[in-house]
Amino acid sequence: MQQVINVFLIGISIGSIYALMSLALVLVWRSTRVVNFAQAGQAIVTTYVAWEVVNRSGSFLMAFIVVVAIGGLIGGLVESGMMRTLFKHASDGPVASVAPVIATLGLLGVIRALVGLIWTNEGKRFESPVSTAGFVIGDTTLPFSRLNLLIICTAAFVMIVFSIVFQRTNLGLALRAAAYNPEIARLSGVKVAMTRTIGWVFAGAAGAVAGILLSPNDSLTPYSLDVLFVFGFVAAVVGGLESLVGAVVGGLVLGVGLSFITFYLGTSLVFPTAFIVLVVVLLVRPSGLFGVKGARSA
């Protein structure tokens, strides 16, 4: 029983990181109908920046703020720069449907290479801001540490902020309207192009937080976040690419599920499991747990 609780808690911790990445992907999808394969790339840049900030100032909080700001900035720049150019040029021809995928993949490669050039490919140690020692209750030590708690709290904080913005502010209303029906939104005076960019800004910030939370556990390399992207994508599909709530739930469910698989069956089964989950969901309920039907084909 004790083991089960341990595994579950670890799952929630890592699941909340997946939830953030998944959130980022869903935000981008809802605003521009594109899966941003470079999301992990953007996050790795911000994570390295965070590493620099932590090294120089020692303050994780400062790194967090910086990272959120830069993550948002990068997201906005990518959308208004590359993606808008893409939509203008490659709107027809055989490549149209795959062009955004290719472009974001290319961006991922470029970002990764630049990161490797600036910081080298060697693993960097990312000091955890809080203790990674497990909580001690009585004479047993849980595998759940202050770091895990910080991860869950931070992720929850971000999600609460997002949900307030989306549900309670005019900006959020505009974003939702533009995603749902751009034509009508435009008629109502919503600057649709601006909302697209803002969607990417929020996504960039969310992805950046995911990256910074994942890194204190392991060594940081330009490839560290590839896995995060895949799991974020699976989580987003499971939850439904259309649904922000789904993104979060999908992330948590996936995190807990994979945690159990890792413990009882070993790490080698993690990827195959994620893949099978992805395929099953796409075949059986493509719109995800929370999605609206008919939203699967581009």
Partner: protein, 431 residues
């Protein structure tokens, strides 16, 4: 009409060109031995500079280069300078194959030296066929016992005492000193780890908990599962047989979880400086852990070889933080230099191999155990000394200094003996 005529003409023309081409093509005969000029000898290596095995092992090749630079500054070998090419293979066998191809086909090296990794060297030798190409592969950085097979690897010389030897010797120590306690093993799940398993079998040691892991997956997440299993089974002695990043992960997670077994580190992943650099574990926590080595510990400044290598490190290696990886690199380089010298003023690949077979067992090196090279044997070092870490991360011998255990990579007995290591040659140069 004209079109088909033109086509026929084209076909005929290409046929003539093809036949002529085949007839004329010939490969020019070789002049001097590959990689050797009047003023230089070109050698190369493939090591992990980045990737999962980068931490720690990335220091080996630059340390080798530092020693070669020292030799070059002191006249070189028989009047030739050593040109040393280092290629990063990220510890991935396919990349090792690719980089070795570059060394042989593009850079055209005389020999490869110190190539690192069990799986890597196995892949290189089977795919690139160093043996049938006649390319010597000297003193590979791995302890896999299978490399001592002269028939399978005709141009390869291992150096390290093998993993089988290590497991057998430490297995015997465990039986003597930890009888009745619960013992656990974490090992890399490939030929590297399998070699150790055979050694344990020879020693008759059975582990209560045995955890294989896939090379490349050793990180905090995986290590957490190891520690959870071991702690749940109340294992008291844990032997970890993996590269340094695996040791670091295990120790780091165990520390965070409050799990404190008697640690035994496989020699390959035992460098204290690297481990501490990879975790938040204070070096004092390594105090009491056991390990083995066939060379003096990097912190032992009373040893003449250690002193010498430290000097070379200061001058020629940018005064990098001296550790056991640098020791291993320089030691291997010293062996290479003596081999090249023994090959004579007109070195050939065949001559190099013959020279090591006849003179290799007399080469000077920091290793304590005797070297077993001969016309029939490709076994390098034949044993280890056992040590315990102290508060500052130095490995201190548990018995008198110079006491070593020697054995073979089969089922022969473990013999306790005293080392008769050759003295450091003048100025540390091959004579």
């Amino acid at each position: 009409m004209i079109g088909s005529f033109r086509k026929k003409g084209l076909v005929a023309a290409s046929a003539i060109v093809a036949i002529a081409g085949l007839a004329l093509s010939a490969v020019p005969a070789q002049a001097a031995e590959v990689g050797v000029t009047a003023t230089s000898i070109k050698i190369g290596t493939t090591v992990p500079l980045t990737g999962i095995a980068g931490p720690g092992y990335a220091k080996v090749a630059p340390a080798m280069k530092a020693y070669f630079d020292y030799v070059n500054a002191n006249g070189g070998i028989n009047g030739r300078k050593i040109e040393f090419i280092i290629k990063d293979d990220r510890y991935l066998p396919p990349v090792s194959v690719e980089k070795t191809n570059e060394l042989i086909l593009k850079d055209k090296v005389f020999a490869t030296v110190g190539q690192l990794g069990t799986a890597n060297n196995l892949a290189i030798n089977s795919r690139v066929r160093l043996g049938s190409r006649g390319v010597p592969s000297l003193f590979v950085n791995t302890g896999f016992s299978g490399f001592a097979d002269k028939k399978k690897f005709p141009t390869l010389f291992p150096l390290f005492s093998s993993y089988r030897m290590e497991a057998k010797i430490m297995g015997g120590y465990i039986k003597e000193n930890f009888a009745g306690k619960k013992i656990g093993l974490i090992y890399q799940n490939d030929d590297f780890g399998a070699d150790a398993l055979k050694g344990f079998e020879s020693a008759g040691v059975k582990f209560d908990v045995s955890i294989p892991y896939v090379s490349g997956t050793q990180g905090a997440a995986t290590a957490t599962t190891w520690i959870q299993k071991l702690a749940a089974a109340k294992v008291e002695v844990v032997y970890i047989f993996g590269v340094t990043t695996a040791t670091a992960a295990a120790v780091g997670v165990a520390f965070a979880a409050g799990y404190k077994p008697q640690w035994i580190f496989g020699s390959v992943g035992a460098d204290a400086t690297t481990i501490v650099g990879q975790t938040t574990v204070p070096v004092a926590l390594l105090n009491g852990a056991l390990s083995m080595s066939f060379m003096p510990d990097a912190a032992d400044t009373t040893d003449e070889y250690v002193k010498f290598f430290r000097e070379v490190n200061t001058t020629y290696n940018n005064n990098a933080t001296f550790d056991n990886n640098i020791m291993a690199g320089m030691n291997g380089a010293m062996m290479v230099a003596q081999a090249l010298k023994a090959a004579g003023p007109n070195p050939t690949r065949k001559g190099l191999i013959a020279a090591i077979e006849s003179k290799g067992s007399t080469f000077a090196s920091a290793g304590y155990p005797p070297i077993g090279f001969s016309a029939t044997s490709r076994v390098g070092y034949t044993g280890f000394w056992i040590g315990k870490y102290n508060q500052t991360g130095s490995l201190i011998p548990v018995e008198a200094k110079g006491t070593i255990y020697t054995t073979d990579s089969a089922n022969g007995p473990v013999v306790k003996t005293t080392s008769k290591r050759p003295a450091l040659p003048t100025k540390g140069l091959p004579n």
